[in-house]
Symmetry: C2
Subunit: 107 residues, 2 copies
DNA sequence: GTACATTATAATTATATGGTTATGTCCGGT
DNA sequence: ACCGGACATAACCATATAATTATAATGTAC
């Protein structure tokens, strides 16, 4: 996962409301109408948050009659955590700086 | 770490520029003047990004003569990754919904 | 087809974010 | 003391974000 994509995924998670939603979906799938009373916000607001999580690949939706159930993609979530633990190697960038004589030497 | 704090920490990371900065600091400590030529942005912009990371507890600074070197707090970064893997248990919220008869039953 | 329940989209608004330029602060060298 | 380099802060601007209300779209039941 490149840094642009990782930043997008983190942006989707970087909101207390969505983090709580993800934590709930970690227990079991939920539909919008169950989430609304748990948060102090309107139904469209909940819907938009789920849409954001869906775009980030963190949840998947399934229609069941009138309801749309959302399920957490646990592998995707774990993948984001792992990406933080395995950031790309930027040694090349530092070598490039060195070639240009821009590295600061002190001590 | 509660969800508000976790969201704040994730916000600090949820930017491609800052993610790249963190990746660089993962190799070695850097000062602002080294970072500026690596990003296409002004010195104050770099400074503000580092300030954001500092507020989130992700980096620490040390003055060395004219320069201010920034060091990545690797434990803090790892802690954020782990928090994603161990989200709080929200079973209580769901039980509360059930008591109120708001859980959707289908199939 | 009508009526109702659930969810999604549109339009709007207030605040947050990320960039800029200009200026202030701190340190080292002469 | 003064000047110049490195960094931080301030003021400003454009865009993104998260909420709202109003309205459309979808599905069930009669």
């Amino acid at each position: 996962m490149d840094l642009e994509q990782l930043a997008d995924a983190l942006k989707a998670l970087a909101d207390p409301t969505r983090l709580k939603m993800v934590s709930l979906l970690n227990i079991r799938d939920c539909c919008i109408c169950e989430l609304v009373p748990l948060f102090g916000i309107s139904q469209p607001a909940v819907s938009k948050h789920m849409s954001r999580l869906k775009t980030a690949g963190l949840v998947h939706e399934t229609r069941k009659g009138m309801w749309v159930f959302y399920a957490l993609d646990k592998e995707r979530l774990a993948g984001i955590g792992l990406s933080l633990a395995h950031l790309p190697d930027m040694s090349g960038e530092l070598r490039r700086l060195e070639r240009q004589g821009l590295l600061v030497q002190c001590l």
